[in-house]
Each structure stands twice: as C-alpha cells, then as structure tokens.
Amino acid sequence: MSKITIPFGPQHPALKEPENFMLVLEGEQITSAGINLGYNHRGMEKAAEGRTYIQNLYLIERVCGICSHSHTTTYITNVEELAKAEVPQRALAIRTLFAELERVHSHLLWLGVAGYEMGFETLFMYTWRDREQVLDCLELLSGNRVHYSINTLGGVRRDITAEQKAEVLKRIKYLEERTQYYIKLATQEPTVLARTANVGKLPYDVAIERGAVGPTARASGVARDVRKDDPYLLYAQLDFNLITHNTNDVFGRLVVRALELVESYKIINQVLNNLPEGPVAVKVPMKVAPGECVNHYEAPRGEDIHYLKSNGTDKPERLKVRAPTLANLQSVAYMLEGGWLADVPLVIAAIDPCMSCTDRAAVWNPKKGKTEVYSWEEMRKLGIEQYKRRGVDFSRL
C-alpha cells in the first residue's frame, strides 16, 4: 500500500493549541511521526527580563492557563529563596490548597478531553459540568476562575475565612462522589477500554530514557513525583499516596489521573482542616540580592522547572521555564509510531499537552533576517558541539 503523509495540525479539531505532527500513514497505521514545535512562541522569558518581580508574577501566570498556580509558585519560590524571605506557614498552606484545587480542575479537564478525543461526548459533558464546582471554589477563594493570582512576594494575597472553607469542603465532597462514579465508568465501559487499552504504549525503560514526567511517567510504573521526592510547600507533612500504574498505555494514564484526583481531595481536606494560624504574607523588599536559583514543582502535567538569575535590581536577569509538556513530547513520537491513526488524538491528549507553555525554542537568525525554529536534531547537534568545546563528548548518547 502506498504511503501518505497527513499533517496533524497546526490547525486541527483535536488540537487545542497550534502544534504540528507529520504522520506517515500506511493504510490506517502510522509508520513514522515527526513533531514540529514553535507555532506559539510568545517571548515570555525575554519579556520577564523587562518587568519587576511583582509584575512578572502576572506574566508567569499566563505561561499556562491551566497550571497558572504551578508556574507562579515555582517562580515565587525562586524569588523568595533569593530574597531570603521567610514565608508564613499559613501562606504555604493556602498555596498547597490552591495547588491541589488546580490539580483537581486540570485532571477533570483532562478526563473530559480524553472523552472527547475518543468520541465519548457524554463523559466530556459530565466531567466538564462537574469541573465547574472546583472552578467555583477557585473563584470564591481568589476572585478568578483561571488566573487566581493568589501568590505574592512573601506569601499569598487573600486569606481564607470559615465560610469559604465550609463552602469549599461541601463542593469537594460532591466532587469526590462524582469522581468515584467516573472511575467506575472509565474502567467498566467496554468502548472506553477498547479505545485506551494497549494504545500509546510507553514501556518503563523508554519512559526513563525519554525523560517522561508526571502522570505519563507514573502510568509506566515510574514512581516519580516531586511532591514525594523533594517535598515543597507543606507536602512533607501531608498524608497522601503516590499513584502508579503498570499498563504503560493510555488506560493507565487515565487510571493514574483518576486516582490522583482522589488523593487530591484527601490533601484538600487535610489542609483545610488544619490551617495554621498566623499572617498570610510578609514584606519583601522590591530589590532582590544577586544569585541563581532552580526549583521544581509537581504541576498537574508533571515536573515544572524554573531557573532564575537575579542581579541585585528589581528585575530578574534571566528566567527559564521548562514546562512539563516539553519533557513529555519526546515520548509522544515513540507512542505514535506503529499505532493507529484513530488513536493519534488520544495519544497526544494522554500526556495532557500544553503547547503554549512549551514553545520557547524560536531562534532569530540575523544572517537570513528571519525567525527559525530548531528541530530536535539541530538542537541535539548544537548541544553536542557546545559540550565538546567544554571537553565533554555526548555524541555517543
């Protein structure tokens, strides 16, 4: 059978953000897949250098709409570490609460998207309807559904009152019931099983080799979670389980996310019932001492890494964001190959991609006078050359 090449994106009903996958098909089966990034480069890191630390909070929040709290918390932890600020316990507790509410809303969103991509619109409608509950919680606490803007230098901006706590607990209780139903639905409905089982296989060693993070890695049996491995915020004091699954496929990722939802409800209950007393913020000077800092954070999609360099002014000298999707995209190419065309949207959706967060690799070429996007091979070549000059040879890796 002759091969045909199908462009999957940058504009495609299954992709919510512009990204391009070139699929070479043999009949219905994919023989090879290429990923082209860079359709959504927004120059955020450069923009961050021109803004003060406090202004950057609202910029960094917009790296990603879904994990807005993850990015600001990682960023603010860096700033506070450099400024040597002591963040009050109550502020840390509120940050933890928001982190888990965000995970709930992101995972419910994913469940709906997965339903949509496998053509199960009923699941999509139901989960998104219930997701409104957690969005209402976030709006109630912070004043906005998506960009909570709860973090500020030295703490959080809003305190939680007793009525708000009761309201959130009430809604979380409802969500817990619904999640139990969705777990049953997703694991017992034969068509969901048919679409997810043995689809997008990512064996344990490939997951390690390609550096998969978050639920994608945990569904391949890699017990890796920043909340457990290197506890930040209040996670060291909280009681929750690290969820892994060993089926290595989309079904495993579905189960991992669904069970993580249950863990998140547990955490939210613990945090809300044991809120430490005290102030919610301390004063931090606008100027931050020179230094460098790296922090990581378990965003709903996986490990989010921020690097920050300060130079003693009120603006950062360099900020680098490594969004979890970038780490997972390497695995997508592996998962797509040999699969069915029908499974492409599901496999891509299974890593819960957030392309806009990821795109940061555009290069301005002054010789040609235009912007270029480096491909993976070129980046690899450049990296190897760079390290050769320093005396390290990575070419055999």
Binding site: E189, A194, R195, A342
Partner: protein, 315 residues
C-alpha cells in the same frame, strides 16, 4: 389531475419536501435528545433549517486538486436522489407503498447503498489527505455493516414469505404477536443502521478529532448542505425501512392516523439511535469490523434461523 399526482408524490409528499422537512426535524430531535441526555440545553428547533438555509447562501469552493470537478459537484444530488427514490417503495402513511413490487426490498437496500458510495467518491475526488483517508474508511465500514443489515432484514422477509416491503409490513400488522419475536433482528438492524448513517459511535469516516471532516472535508456551501440533507433524509428512510420491516409499518391504518403512527414510530427509532449515540465512545475502524462480523452478523443470522424455525412451526 391524474398526471400531476405522481409529480406531487415525488416533489411534495412523501417525496422531496416532506423528506427534507422531516429529515431536518429528526436531526433536531436527535440533537436535542443527545443534549438533554448529556445535561445540556441543545439547539432550538429552528437550528437545522437555519443551518441549511445558511449553507445554501454560502459560496461553493471546488478545490483545484479535485480529480473530476463535475463529479464533485454532482455527487450530493446523486446521494439525495437515491435516498428519495428508496422511499417510494417504503410504506409511509398507507399500508402499501406508492410503488411496490415483488423484490422491492432488494432494490431499496441497493438504493440505500448508493449514498455511501457517493460519500466514498466525494472523498476520493477531493484528493485531500483527510478526505482520502475518510473515503477509505467509508468503504471499509460499508463492508462491515452492510451484511448484518441485509441479514437482519431477511429474517422478517422469510417469515412473511415475500420480498415486498409493503407485504411484510402488512403481514406484521396482521400478526402483531410476531413483532416481539424479531427483537434480536430489530436491534441488529438498528446498530447496523447507526453504522450506515455514520453516527457515533460509528462516525469513523468523518471522526472530527482524527481526520477533520473526513470525506466531506473539501465540501462547502450548497454542496455540503445537500450532503447533510441527504444524510438527514437517509435517517428518515432508514427509520421508515426498519419501521416497515420490523414494526408492521402503519399497522393497517391509513391517512392521518397512519401518518401519526409513522411519525410516532420513526421518532421512537430516532430516540433509540440517539441513545446509542450517547452511550458509547467511538470505536476504531478495525474494532468496528471485528464487532460487526463477530457479534452483529451472528446475531442477525440467529434471527434468520429463528425465523425459519418459526415459519416451519406456524406453517
């Protein structure tokens, strides 16, 4: 007068006008039911008509790459004509169809295959990657559901001892006790019909998350509108066929009462099809073929065997 009547049958009732209006209405019923079952609002009843009129007003774009531009333009009307022709041999509001003859069931089945073939040709002649994949899926799917559909329709025909749809429905109207005995065949026919209409969970040829618009990707404006209309008409004709073959048609009523029975039963069949739509995730093309040949065809076969046995017992 005598010469105008057939023309009115074809153009107004139960031909083009009735089919178009009722088809679009059934589309709304289907969408509304799905919406309510998914806890949504759903569109107002005027939506399908407004969509169709809007599409009529839009510009038609024929892709440069289209292999045969005339064919590209003609195919939607071809699909619609085939569906309309099929209705002439299916009883609607009278016990007997307008034009019934011995063996008309075979003709109707073949006429209902034509739209599927035009979908394939439409996708193939657009020669865009998505349409090509879509049209290949159309044909693959045709081989999956066509045999179970025919097999399930054969059962009642054997029981009634005729190849005439009107006579089959008259037989069941005379022996209503035999209708429940056709349950398996009825369900198999419904599932196969869902596949024929390319609705969820069998909307594989134009699965929007996978291949955008499938075979219709390159169609726009009026031509796309008529394709959509043809699909809606096919829903009416399919429901009418299942109604006539399995549920005894108009149950011997004629005129307004017959029409009411017809509308009620097609609405019920649409409800069952909508239910199928919301209950399941879309399956893959190879799973569809497995399902149709491993489960659906044997079920339809079992019904045929049961009907032969039944015919032997009741004589």
């Amino acid at each position: 007068m005598e010469s105008i009547l057939p023309l009115a049958y074809i153009l107004i009732f139960p031909g083009f006008l009735f089919l178009a209006v009722y088809g679009l209405y059934l589309q709304w019923v289907d969408r509304k039911l799905c919406a309510v079952m998914q806890n949504r609002m759903g569109p107002p009843w005027i939506q399908p008509y407004a969509d169709f009129i809007k599409l009529l007003a839009k510009e038609v774009i024929v892709p440069d790459a289209a292999t045969n531009k005339t064919m590209f333009r003609v195919l939607p009307f071809f699909a619609m004509a085939a569906v309309m022709t099929a209705l002439i041999s299916i009883p609607v509001w009278t016990p007997a169809a307008l034009f019934s003859f011995q063996g008309d069931m075979v003709v109707v089945i073949y006429l209902l295959t034509i739209p599927t073939v035009t979908f394939f040709l439409a996708g193939w002649s657009s020669s865009s990657p998505y349409s090509t994949v879509g049209s290949m899926r159309v044909l693959t799917q045709l081989f999956a559901y066509e045999v179970p559909l025919m097999l399930s329709l054969i059962g009642p025909a054997i029981l009634a001892g005729t190849w005439n749809i009107s006579e089959i429905s008259a037989f069941f109207a005379a022996h209503p006790a035999l209708i429940p005995a056709q349950l398996l065949g009825f369900l198999a026919a419904l599932v196969a019909l869902q596949g024929k209409l390319e609705r969820m969970p069998f909307d594989i040829p134009h699965a929007k998350n996978e291949i955008v618009g499938g075979q219709f990707t390159e169609y726009s404006g009026r031509l796309f509108g008529f394709f959509c209309l043809a699909v809606d008409m096919e829903l009416v004709v399919g429901a009418a066929l299942v109604n006539a073959v399995f549920l005894g048609g108009s149950l011997g009523f004629a005129g307004a009462a017959g029409l009411a029975v017809f509308l009620g039963k097609t609405l019920f069949i649409t409800f069952l099809l909508a239910l199928l739509k919301v209950l399941m995730a879309r399956i893959r093309i190879e799973q569809m073929i497995n399902f149709c040949w491993k489960y659906l065809a044997p079920v339809a076969m079992a019904q045929v065997a049961f009907d032969i046995f039944l015919k032997y017992r009741i004589g």
